[in-house]
């Protein structure tokens, strides 16, 4: 009885050390989306290209698509852009580019210069749509399923590894389902 009482501090420490040890070296994972498995918030937004109709996520029902949040002032967006172009060309996946807190003129000329992988480019000049989505940084990419539910959020620029290992398999799975 007395032995266990004196060993209690040691037992507590071992638990603590275990916790710290397992968490060491792990970079804090990006915030999971609060909207996971929830329907994507509905919104209507004019597009960068004024000649096109206003965009609403409803129109994308029935297919698996990506929502990419970007801006012309965002340096990391430039990093991921070639990958987006590649995804659109090679896999034909619909990518909707939400222009976040950006001026229409700036956004349009940026796309002209960098290439436009987006099937639609809804505008979000005051960030309200971003707020509905729980966007906290730029760029972010959401995977939306056929029923319009958000199935994944990738925060930060898309990387080939993330694409190959996580996003593409998820898209394939959702496409079959």
């Amino acid at each position: 009885m007395m032995m266990t009482r004196h060993a209690l501090p040691l037992a507590c420490f071992v638990t603590l050390a275990g916790l710290l040890g397992t968490q060491l070296g792990k970079a804090p994972p990006p915030l999971p989306s609060a909207l996971l498995n929830h329907p994507a918030p509905s919104f209507t937004a004019p597009q960068l290209d004024r000649t096109k109709a206003v965009f609403t996520p409803q129109t994308m029902q029935g297919q698996v698509w990506l929502l990419n949040v970007w801006a012309s002032w965002c340096a990391s967006c430039r990093e991921e852009h070639p990958l987006l172009l590649d995804i659109q060309q090679r896999h034909g996946i619909a990518i909707v580019g939400l222009s976040y807190e950006d001026e229409a003129q700036q956004g349009a000329s940026w796309l002209d210069a960098q290439g436009n992988p987006y099937t639609s480019t809804p505008q979000d000049p005051d960030g309200r749509i971003g707020m509905e989505l729980g966007v906290y940084g730029v760029p972010e990419t959401f995977v939306v399923d056929k029923q319009g539910r958000i199935r994944m959020r990738h925060a930060g620029p898309l990387t080939p590894e993330a694409w190959q290992q996580t996003i593409l398999p998820l898209i394939k799975e959702l496409a079959h389902g």
Binding site: L31, P32, A34, L35, G127, M131, E132, G134, G137
Partner: protein
Amino acid sequence: MADLLKLKHTLAALSLLALSLTSHAADTASRLDEQVQHLATELRCLVCQNQSIADSQAPLAVQLKAEIRQQLSRGASVETVRQFMVQRYGDYVLYKPPVNRTTWALWAGPLLFMIAGGVAAMRYMRARDVGDEQKKALV
């Protein structure tokens, strides 16, 4: 003469009414400020290294603070605004964690520590509590 007096009284009454209205408005404005500030200290700035949106100057923090002010001034309750944030950003945005299955140990912990410690302390004291005569003899 009587008209002048009547005018004076009317003016006095009107100015008192105006004064009470403005001071009430001032009260309401400062209460709103307080509410906004208080709620902002409870919400986490998502792009900062551990700061509340009240203290952060980051664009997202400023935006969220404006959103809070807008909603509260339209009459939403503090709880509604809090839920608004949680629905979009998750429990992570709350500096005061909710009480649920994940956090019960966090909230119950201090109480459990106290009970366990208290029991241990009482048992120890009971073991040490010799009779009064014996204590006098120990001096």
